[in-house]
Amino acid sequence: MPKNRSKINFKNVRDLPPMVMSLRSMAANPTGSWRNLRPVIAYKDCIQCMICWKFCPDAAIDIVDDRPVINLDFCKGCGICAEECPKKCIEMVKEGK
């Protein structure tokens, strides 16, 4: 299924398949709004080990130009990346303020 980020709108029964089946990805559901804390990576100390990337339960860390980049649309702020970082270069910062 293509990672279409938009929601689907049905109008009536005729729009529906005969049985319940998925038609689009959950990428249409940005879970970034769940966060209270946001991970911030201090890239000067990052050794690009990708441990943060491998442990993310939400696949919310992308690898861009060999660096981990937090996908803030989806990051739930669980803090596993910060906890597991061997260089302790990820800080969990309060959202909002």
Binding site: S22, L23, S25, M26, K54, P57
Partner: protein
């Protein structure tokens, strides 16, 4: 530095797992190991909800939601159909929680194991019926609080030895795994993919709400479980045991328990009881690792 796992994802972000969900890590790694040529079936479990409501889905491989008891039987049926349709190459997997494996799903599991069905059966074990709000299951360890084993009546029975039970079926492949050792889990699945017959993988998946632990501690807990010997990592291939990750100088079990609110009420004596249970079980396994 190169990542230790392949980059491609087979599940999208935006799913409904709690913050710090061990089951999320388990699925992500498993999908990387199995690849796109896979079909999954889930019983009622956390992943029923995690995958998302109609008309959306997180998984990018075909998935059949099914009833609670039926995972191994459903997977057997899917595999039989794939054989008949000339697609025996497709990997068929049942993916169930501990409830759907140890308790209500055990009959279908035993039947499929006995028939040596050519399927994967993954149990992601968060040690209680978490999806329905943290009720005890056969997988809940001794001493744990759950909503049906409140502190005054905490769980007295030890965790059911599902690995011994499945191994007794003389299945070609069984492995335990932990979401802290993702390369180990990945390697085991890639190895098992070459094996015909029933393949059982039991993955420890910490659950912050159910274990009353901090979301950021999920990987740490999955590591401590192995380092204390609470959840040893090993493989069993038709009755032959081999240890995957050795834990020499095992850490005391208290280090693992103290990070989880579900064990907070335990007395020093009860923690010592748990230490003894872990020691005894570990000694038993060591004998098997040495081929006694």
């Amino acid at each position: 530095m190169k990542p230790t796992l392949p980059l491609e994802e087979y599940m999208s972000p935006g799913h409904l797992a709690c913050q710090g969900c061990g089951a999320g890590i388990a699925m992500r790694v498993t999908l990387k190991a199995l690849g796109r040529n896979s079909i999954f079936t889930f019983p009622a479990c956390c992943w029923t909800v995690i995958d998302g409501p109609f008309p959306y889905s997180t998984l990018e491989v075909p998935l059949l939601h099914m009833a609670f008891e039926a995972t191994a039987a459903t997977a057997s049926g899917i595999k039989a159909a794939m054989k008949m349709l000339g697609r025996d190459d497709v990997i068929v997997s049942g993916w169930a929680g501990d409830g759907g494996t140890f308790d209500i799903g055990i009959q279908a599991l035993s039947g499929a194991a006995e028939r040596n069905e050519d399927i994967f059966y993954f149990c992601y074990d968060n040690e209680a019926y978490m999806n329905t709000g943290i009720q005890r299951s056969g997988a809940t360890p001794y001493g744990a609080w759950t909503t049906t084993t409140p502190v005054r009546h905490f769980k007295r029975e030890p965790k059911k030895s599902i690995d011994d039970i499945v191994a007794a079926h003389r299945v070609p492949y069984l492995a335990t795994a932990s979401v802290a050792y993702v390369e180990d889990l990945y390697k085991k699945i890639v190895k098992a993919k070459e094996i015909r017959g029933f393949k059982f993988i039991h993955i420890l998946a910490p659950c912050p709400p159910g274990w009353k632990s901090k979301p950021e501690d999920s990987v740490k807990l999955a590591r401590l479980a192995v380092q204390t010997g609470v959840f040893p990592l090993y493989e069993v291939e038709i009755g032959i045991y081999s240890q995957s990750i050795k834990s020499p100088n095992r850490k005391p079990v208290a280090e693992y328990l103290k990070l989880q609110g579900r064990f907070k009420h335990l007395t020093v004596e009860q923690v010592a009881e748990i230490q003894k249970m872990v020691d005894d079980r570990y000694a038993e396994l060591e004998k098997r690792f040495q081929g006694n």
